[in-house]
């Protein structure tokens, strides 16, 4: 960079996206009013009301006679395109033969209007022959009823260390503890449900999809529909939240795209929330068994995690277990660590990525185990953590499961968060309430975490920067924003490199005809890969411009300087030689002043942090209320702290939600019990406090921005801290564990059971 000036990087810059979203609203799939979709028909899915059944017949004749019905399409109409030939557990686009979860799409009703679609879908008659449903870990592993009889088992995969083996790893421990608990199934609930629209013209298919990655969606859609990738264009309009559940392109959207090729007019689909809660993928859903051993003076010597990952009806999320395994030992340096897992299918909604995707599960398991260990040896949980975290001088640190933690200072994060929370005072207040026997008890929960972001760093991300002859800039990014603020962040990077004001920078994304190469936004990868690509592209443009400016000024490149404040080139020290960006761009001629970069990082990054949750528990009713939540979330160098804080806030809330209230439930027959937002207890503003965020930035050398991911960190840290706080609030009553979510009834039951056990013990 030439010259001195205040950098925009690291500033709390307000978002460029907001004015439009606040005055006209976003343009989400359901809002599209583009000419290509004029006269579009509406798609309504007929979904299975039964968890496991054979389909013995589908009769659409009545529905076809209803007003406005254009077509009713089934798996049979899809022919060879419907299946997933060669897959051991194939997932068709529309179920034929067998349904495997309530909500599975069976047929599509195409109508002129949406109201007609809902009416007609009720009239499609599907005959089912019910089968026993596989619900829960035990039923899956029992293999008495199989979802895919040809495979001989509901177990999709087994990985890591052998189950049950390795008891010798606990040799030499003074204390060995074990427990089994669920990391319960939760629903992602992006406020915008799933949706897609498609138009078929001149042998090309254009698909508008609510997705986190347009280019991958194009590959998925063209692959499933046996089309040339070039014949498919995917456009991502505004996306109303994804949280991992819009990474994959669901079968429903692919079927919608296909329908456009069949019915002779464009089609639109936007599901209902009721459909969303049963047919969009869920998250988590593990049964975890932990075993931890160590010395009485607080050293953890051995830890093992064995878990079963329930993937629901189809193994879309088969990779999740390996992410949990990778992060088994968390932020701790433990001499002996093992992790083994089994991945199973059940007659429930498929499970896939949800904010954290495999890592929150690992963190929750070890943090719970560390708390149990601390309780057993009678040591403060903060002290046990301080003793066992990976020490600051050990980075890069290779964990026993092969993760290479790049940079960090976990003890410092813990100390900072304890100081900010006033940990000592909180413990004193807790002691006073216990002494008084208050109804409202105080609980303090801690977590120290490390997580992996940009795990698929090798795919990299694209960024293209072009300066136009009017001096404005277009940034084309392969990343795929849906609330993260890329337009602002990428413009900041351009302003930094080129001195062109952010207001003159337009960021485009999510149109595969404009940006053929790209990966998308998930796994907390955007800034460290996509942002780095934009920065490198902008820097390349600057150096190209230097040559062009030199040509224009009749000087050498070395003599040219960019005034970063004004965004003007000049010959160093010579007034009157000023050249504006537009002029320089004009000199580039037909090739344009443009650079297109694919940035590939050498490795993932490992953000870390520490959380303190403070809850009040009403010991008479069991209701827990989160009253404070204090966090250090260190994601390396921050580009825009305002946006990073927003990511933390949202992450903390979703993690706290899992700890406190949210859970997807099924009855034993696989019928969903939480299929509306009245039943699925999505956390609201009244269940949360304002959050207290502590700043901490430990840069990474993995990318030029020094940045790690921040999208998932808050969730990963908050879940175990909040759960731990609830348990801590009633620990003096003899409670050692409460499963998530720590609902009032669960807390009350734990207090009651501890009281009974204490009474028996006293006899």
């Amino acid at each position: 960079m030439d010259g001195d000036r205040a950098s925009v990087l690291g500033s709390r810059v307000l978002r460029m996206e907001d004015h439009r979203l606040l005055t006209a609203g976003g343009t989400y799939v359901a809002d599209l009013r583009v000419p290509e979709l004029a006269g579009a028909a509406q798609v309504t899915f007929v979904r299975s009301p039964i968890a496991h059944a054979l389909i013995t017949g589908i009769d659409a004749s009545v529905a076809l006679g209803e007003p406005g019905v254009v077509a009713v399409l089934t798996g049979r109409d899809l022919g060879d395109l419907n299946g997933q030939a060669g897959q051991p557990m194939p997932e068709p686009l529309l179920a034929t033969g067998r349904v495997r979860f309530v909500g599975e799409p069976v047929a599509m009703v195409i109508t002129d209007g949406r109201y007609q679609g809902e009416d007609a879908a009720e009239l499609v008659s599907v005959d089912y022959e019910p089968l026993a449903a596989v619900v829960g870990f035990g039923a899956a592993l029992a293999d008495e009823t199989l979802l895919f009889p040809d495979t001989g088992s509901n177990v999709v995969a087994t990985g890591g260390d052998e189950q049950g083996a390795g008891d010798a790893m606990f040799d030499g421990c003074d204390v060995v503890l074990g427990a089994t608990f669920p990391n319960q199934r939760v629903a992602p609930v992006p406020l915008e449900v799933r949706g897609a629209a498609a138009a078929w013209a001149d042998g090309r298919l254009t698909v508008w999809a609510s997705t986190q990655n347009a280019q991958i969606a194009r590959a998925t859609i063209s692959g499933r529909l046996a089309m040339d990738q070039a014949a498919v264009r995917v456009i991502t309009p505004d996306v109303g939240g994804g949280f991992g559940a819009k990474i994959g392109t669901d079968r429903d959207a692919i079927a919608v795209a296909w329908a456009a090729t069949r019915v002779g007019r464009p089609v639109c689909w936007s599901e209902t929330r009721g459909e969303n809660l049963v047919a969009m993928t869920h998250g988590r859903s593990q049964r975890q068994t932990v075993r931890i051993g160590g010395t009485r003076d607080g050293r953890i010597l051995a830890y093992r995690l064995d878990f079963v990952q329930d993937l629901g009806a189809y193994p879309r999320g088969a990779y999740l277990a390996s992410l949990t395994r990778l992060m088994t030992s968390g932020a701790y340096e433990i001499p002996r660590v093992r992790c083994g897992y089994q991945v199973v299918v059940t007659n429930t909604t498929p499970v896939d990525a949800y904010r954290g995707a495999g890592r929150p599960e690992a963190t929750a398991a070890i943090e719970r185990a560390v708390d149990m260990f601390a309780a057993e040896i009678g040591m403060d949980p903060a002290e046990v953590r301080r003793l066992n975290v990976v020490p600051p001088g050990s980075f890069p640190y290779t964990s026993p499961t092969g993760a290479v933690y790049d940079t960090g200072d976990y003890a410092a994060a813990l100390d900072k968060v304890l100081a900010a929370a006033g940990y000592r005072d909180l413990r004193a207040e807790q002691a006073r309430r216990r002494e008084r026997g208050d109804t409202m008890q105080l609980g303090i929960g801690l977590s120290v975490y490390v997580e992996v972001t940009a795990g698929d760093h090798a795919s990299g991300e694209t960024g293209k920067v072009e300066v136009h002859e009017d001096g404005t800039v277009t940034v084309s990014t392969g990343s795929s924003p849906h609330g993260q603020g890329h337009a602002t962040s990428w413009a900041m990077l351009v302003q930094e490199e080129l001195g062109i004001p952010m207001a003159d920078v337009t960021v485009v994304h999510g149109d595969t005809d404009v940006i053929p190469r790209g990966t998308g936004t998930y796994g907390s990868r955007s800034l460290q890969l996509g942002g780095a690509a934009v920065q490198k592209a902008a820097a390349a443009v600057r150096e190209q411009a230097r040559g062009l400016a030199a040509e224009l000024a009749g000087a050498t490149e070395a003599e040219m300087e960019l005034d970063p404040r004004l965004g003007i080139w000049r010959v160093r020290g010579e007034s009157g030689t000023e050249l504006e960006w537009g002029k320089v761009a004009g000199q580039a001629g037909i090739e344009g002043l443009v650079a297109d970069v694919l940035f590939v990082a050498k490795s993932p990054t490992f953000p870390f942090g520490a959380h303190v949750a403070v809850v009040e528990v009403d010991t008479e009713t069991g209701k827990a209320s989160l009253v404070r939540h204090v966090t250090v979330d260190d994601a390396g160098t921050l580009l825009n702290p305002l946006l990073a804080e927003g990511q933390r806030h949202g992450g903390i809330a979703q993690g706290a939600a899992q700890a406190l209230v949210e859970e997807v439930l099924y009855d034993p027959d696989g019928n969903p019990l939480t299929a509306t937002l009245a039943d699925y207890a999505t956390i609201t503003a009244t269940e949360l406090p304002s959050f207290e965020l502590v700043a901490s930035q430990t840069p990474t050398a993995v990318n030029p921005l020094g940045a790690k991911g921040i999208g998932e960190a808050g969730t990963i840290g908050s879940t175990p801290a909040v759960q731990s706080a609830v348990i801590d609030a009633v620990a003096h009553l003899g409670v050692r564990h409460i499963d998530m979510p720590t609902t009032p009834q669960r807390v009350w039951a734990a207090i009651s059971a501890a009281a009974i056990s204490a009474a028996r013990g006293g006899q």
Binding site: R15, E17, D18, H19, L21, L22, T23, A24, G25, G26, Y28, A30, D31, R33, Y115, P188, V189, P190, L191, E192, V193, D238, G240, G241, F243, R273, G274, D425, L426, E429, Q430, L442, H482, G483, Q484, G485, V614, E616, V627, R628, L642, G646, H649, G650, G651, I652, A653, Q654, T676, L677, A678, T682, T684, A685, T686, L688, P689, S690, F691, E692
Partner: protein, 169 residues
């Protein structure tokens, strides 16, 4: 049935199906798509608009029920010269939105809340937003935005200006 509904000051008379929901009237008849549908059970608040100045969930109202009444959506909030409404302005300044999907409903809920209670406490804001879900912001900056839009409260020893919020034990 023929209905005449004033949306953002403009009168529109048209025939609608008896069962048409107000939110679909706003989106499809009036063509104003900022107001979103996020659920089926009046749980999420994404569809919140003002009916005669008060917040309502437009997914739980028939268009025919709004016949002869005034509806205001987020598109009708800024002044004619483009000046943002104080709540819109505060959302921008406090980073009160991310994906933007809940935002129109959230803004309208807060406009209504502040009309009824111009200087709410943080707790009153939170309970006033109990019917509006957001999945991106953790509500933190939405609450800040509502408090900022309200301006400084009368000094009553309330906790709204303490950045940490919550209960200090």
């Amino acid at each position: 049935m023929k209905v005449e509904i004033t949306v953002n000051g403009g009168q529109l008379a048209t025939d609608v199906e008896d069962r048409m929901l107000l939110v679909h009237y706003v989106r499809d008849v009036a063509g104003l798509t900022a107001t979103n549908v996020g659920c089926d059970t009046s749980s999420c608040g994404a569809c919140t608009v003002l009916l005669d100045g008060e917040s309502v969930k437009s997914c739980t109202l028939l268009a025919v029920q709004a016949d002869g009444h005034d509806v205001t959506t987020v598109e009708g909030l800024a002044s004619a010269d483009g000046q943002l409404h104080p709540v819109q302005q505060a959302f921008r300044e406090q980073h009160g939105l991310q994906c933007g999907f809940c935002t129109p409903g959230m803004v309208m809920a807060i406009v209504s809340l502040l009309r009824e209670n111009p200087h709410p406490t943080e707790e009153q804001v939170r309970s006033g937003l109990e019917g509006n879900l957001c999945r991106c912001t953790g509500y933190h900056n939405i609450v800040r935005a509502a408090l900022a839009a309200a301006g400084p409260a009368h000094p009553r020893g309330q906790d709204e200006d303490r950045p940490g919020g919550g209960v200090a034990p």
